[in-house]
C-alpha cells in the first residue's frame, strides 16, 4: 500500500497542444522543478557515478577518471577478511530480529485502539504512543545508558531489589540485540500503527452492524472483519521491511557500539563508515557498500515480484 502510487499511470490524457505552445505556457512548471532536480542529480546521481571507485584504487587527486582500474580486487579482499562473514551475519540477524519483533506490535496496537472503550481514551493513548518517535536517537541511547547503567540504573536497582544479579546491559554483547530491537519497539510502535489505524478506518461500519446482529463477539469481529481488511497493508509492510534486510541503519547501531560489544554490533553500515572515513580506505569501503546496495536492490525487486503475485500490490 505504501508507495503504490509510484506505479500509478496517467489515466488522464489531455488534448495534445503543440510542443512550442505548451512550453511557452508552462515553462515555469519546469523552473519550479529545477532546484529539486539539481539537488537530486548532485547529491544522489553524482555519488552513483562515484561508486565506480569500488572498482579502482581511487586516489582523490586523480578522481574517478584518472584512478587505475583494479576490477573486483576490493570485493575479493572483503570476502577474504575473516570478519566479513561476521559482519554480514550480524547485519542480517539484527534486522531479521528487528523485523520479526517490530512487525506485529503496531498491528496489535491499532486493533486494540480500534476497540477502545471510549473515543477520547483511544485518542489519548494514541497520542502518547507517538511521543517517543520525536525523541532523537542520541537522546534515546543516552536514556538507555541511564536506565541500564550497571551502578545506579533503575533497571539494575529493581533487579537487585528483587534479589537478582545485576547486569552490565549496555556493554554486554549478549544484550546488544535485545536492547536495540526492543527500544525500537518502544520508540516506533505508535508511529508505525498509524498506517494500520488508517486502514482500519476504511472498514464499512455496516459490516460491524450486521456482524453484531448475527451475534458476533468483538473478538470475532476483529478476527473476521478487521484482520482481513488490514491484511493487504500488513503484507506490503512486511515485504517492504524484508526488502531492506541488509539495510540496518547507521545512526543507532553506531551510538550503541563499544569495545565490548563490537563483535556482535558491527554491521555493514558502521563498518563502511569506519574503514571509509576513519581509515580513509575509500575504494574498499565503497566496494563493501556497493555489495550491500546491490543485495538490497535485488531483494527489493524480488520482494516486489512476490508481492505483485500474491497481493497485486507493487512498488512500481
Amino acid at each position: 500500500m505504501k508507495m503504490t502510487h509510484l506505479s500509478q499511470k496517467n489515466s488522464f490524457k489531455p488534448k495534445k497542444m503543440p510542443f512550442g505552445r505548451y512550453i511557452k505556457n508552462n515553462y515555469d512548471l519546469y523552473i519550479m522543478l529545477l532546484p529539486a532536480l539539481a539537488f537530486i542529480i548532485i547529491f544522489a546521481y553524482l555519488p552513483m557515478y562515484g561508486v565506480l571507485m569500488a572498482f579502482q584504487d581511487f586516489n582523490p587527486a586523480q578522481g574517478i577518471a584518472g584512478s587505475p582500474w583494479v576490477g573486483l580486487k576490493h570485493f575479493e579482499r572483503f570476502f577474504s577478511i575473516y570478519t566479513a562473514k561476521q559482519i554480514i551475519v550480524n547485519t542480517i540477524v539484527l534486522s531479521l530480529y528487528s523485523i520479526i519483533v517490530s512487525f506485529p506490535f503496531p498491528i496489535i496496537l491499532a486493533l486494540m485502539l480500534n476497540y477502545s472503550v471510549s473515543k477520547r481514551f483511544g485518542k489519548m493513548v494514541q497520542t502518547v504512543t507517538y511521543i517517543p518517535y520525536f525523541i532523537s536517537i542520541t537522546v534515546l541511547i543516552g536514556m538507555m545508558n541511564i536506565f541500564f547503567s550497571p551502578n545506579y540504573g533503575i533497571v539494575n536497582t529493581v533487579i537487585s531489589a528483587l534479589g537478582g544479579t545485576t547486569q552490565t546491559f549496555m556493554s554486554d554483547s549478549s544484550w546488544f540485540r535485545h536492547l536495540y530491537v526492543w527500544s525500537g519497539v518502544w520508540q516506533n510502535m505508535g508511529y508505525s500503527a498509524i498506517v494500520y489505524i488508517a486502514a482500519l478506518s476504511s472498514v464499512d461500519p455496516t459490516l460491524y452492524e450486521a456482524a453484531t446482529l448475527d451475534g458476533a463477539s468483538k473478538l470475532q469481529r476483529m478476527r473476521y472483519i478487521d484482520i482481513p481488511t488490514i491484511m493487504p497493508t500488513c503484507v506490503i509492510m512486511l515485504l517492504l521491511s524484508l526488502g531492506s534486510i541488509m539495510g540496518v541503519g547507521f545512526e543507532k547501531v553506531y551510538l550503541m557500539q563499544n569495545d565490548r560489544n563490537s563483535a556482535i554490533s558491527e554491521v555493514i553500515s558502521t563498518y563502511v563508515y569506519k574503514v571509509g572515513l576513519l581509515d580513509g580506505r575509500y575504494s574498499f569501503s565503497s566496494a563493501v557498500n556497493l555489495f550491500n546496495s546491490i543485495i538490497n536492490f535485488t531483494l527489493l525487486i524480488f520482494v516486489n515480484k512476490v508481492s505483485k503475485k500474491i497481493s497485486d500490490i507493487s512498488l512500481w
Binding site: 519550479m32 557515478y49 561508486v51
Partner: protein, 297 residues
C-alpha cells in the same frame, strides 16, 4: 459507572476489560521512562544514584538545569541547532513544494520520466563515501552549509506533497484561473499554497524534527566543534561521557561522576522539549501527513 463503560455480552465485557488494561499498560510503559527523567532531573544526585527516586522527585534542586544552561558547549550547540533547523526547513520547503506541485500536474509533459528520476534514488544510492566526496568537492566540508545543502530535500516528502496536491488541488481549478490570465507560478503561490496549510504544517514538522534530531551529517561533514549542532554535543556528553569544561577542576572523582550524571537528566529534557512542544500544535496534521504518505491521496 462500570456497566456504562463495559456493555454487551459477557465475552465482550471481558474483551473490553483486557483491552483497556493492556492499553493503560502500554501508556505507562511509554510514559514512565520519560517521567522518570523529569523527576530525576530535579532530584538531588545522591537520591537518584541510590535508587530512591521512583515515583516522585526527592530533594528538589534546579542546580543541574543551571549547569546545563551555563555550559558553553551546550549553549552553542543549541544556538547552532536552532539556526540549522529554521534555515534548513525553509530551504526544504522552497525546494520541495514547487517541485511537488509541478509533479502533481496531470498535464506536465515528461512527468513519469521525471518521477522515475526521483523515485529511483529511494531504492539505490551511491553510499557514504561517494556522497562524502561530492560534498567535499563542492567545498561544503566543515562549513555551516554542510548541514543544509546536502539535506535540502527528501524524496519521500516530495511524494507526500505531490500526493497531497494531486488530491486537493484539482486541475480544473487551474484551468478556470488561466482564463483570468493566471500563470502556473502565480497559481501555485496565490491559490495552491494558501489551500495547503495542513500540508505545510506537516512538512514543517517532518523536516524540522529531522534537522533537530540529526547527528549523522554533522558526524560526517563537520570537523570544527564550533559548528556542532546540539545532537553532537549530546552525543559527547550523554554517550561518550567526555569530561567537559564546566566540570573541570573538580577534584573528587565520585563527585565528578555524580555531576556528569546529573547533567544528563536535565540535558535530555532541555534538548527534547522544543520538539515535544511543537508536537501538540501540529498533532492532527501529523497523523494526516503520515496517512497522505501511505495512502494515495
Amino acid at each position: 459507572m462500570h456497566s456504562k463503560i463495559f456493555k454487551g455480552t459477557k465475552s465482550d465485557v471481558i474483551f473490553d476489560i483486557v483491552n483497556t488494561v493492556l492499553l493503560i499498560l502500554i501508556t505507562l510503559i511509554i510514559l514512565y521512562p520519560l517521567y522518570y527523567i523529569v523527576i530525576a532531573s530535579v532530584s538531588t544526585p545522591t537520591m537518584v544514584l541510590t535508587g530512591k527516586v521512583t515515583l516522585f522527585p526527592r530533594g528538589f534542586q534546579l542546580e543541574s538545569y543551571k549547569r546545563v544552561f551555563s555550559n558553553p558547549d551546550i549553549g552553542r550547540g543549541y544556538f547552532n541547532t536552532i539556526l540549522y533547523t529554521s534555515l534548513g526547513t525553509i530551504i526544504n520547503l522552497i525546494v520541495t513544494l514547487p517541485a511537488a506541485y509541478s509533479l502533481s500536474r496531470k498535464d506536465l509533459r515528461g512527468k513519469n520520466f521525471i518521477m522515475m528520476i526521483f523515485s529511483f534514488t529511494m531504492f539505490f544510492g551511491g553510499g557514504t563515501i561517494p556522497t562524502f566526496l561530492v560534498v567535499k568537492d563542492l567545498g561544503l566540508y566543515n562549513s555551516f552549509w554542510a548541514l543544509l545543502i546536502p539535506s535540502a530535500m527528501s524524496v519521500w516528502n516530495l511524494i507526500i506533497c505531490r500526493n497531497f496536491f494531486e488530491g486537493s488541488i484539482p486541475l480544473e481549478l487551474y484551468e478556470v484561473s488561466i482564463i483570468d490570465g493566471c500563470t502556473n507560478r502565480k497559481f501555485f503561490i496565490q491559490i495552491a499554497l494558501p489551500l495547503s496549510k495542513a500540508l505545510i504544517a506537516v512538512m514543517v514538522l517532518f523536516y524540522a524534527v529531522g534537522h533537530w534530531n540529526s547527528y549523522f551529517s554533522a558526524l560526517l561533514y563537520l570537523k570544527d566543534s564550533e559548528l556542532y549542532p546540539l545532537q553532537m554535543v549530546l552525543r559527547n556528553i550523554l554517550i561518550s561521557s567526555q569530561p567537559d569544561a564546566t566540570l573541570a577542576g573538580m577534584t573528587d572523582r565520585a563527585k565528578f561522576y555524580q555531576e556528569v550524571e546529573m547533567l544528563k537528566y536535565a540535558l535530555v529534557i532541555v534538548s527534547s522539549v522544543p520538539v515535544l512542544m511543537l508536537y501538540p500544535f501540529v498533532q492532527k496534521y501529523f497523523v494526516k501527513g503520515v496517512m497522505i504518505g501511505s495512502i494515495k491521496g
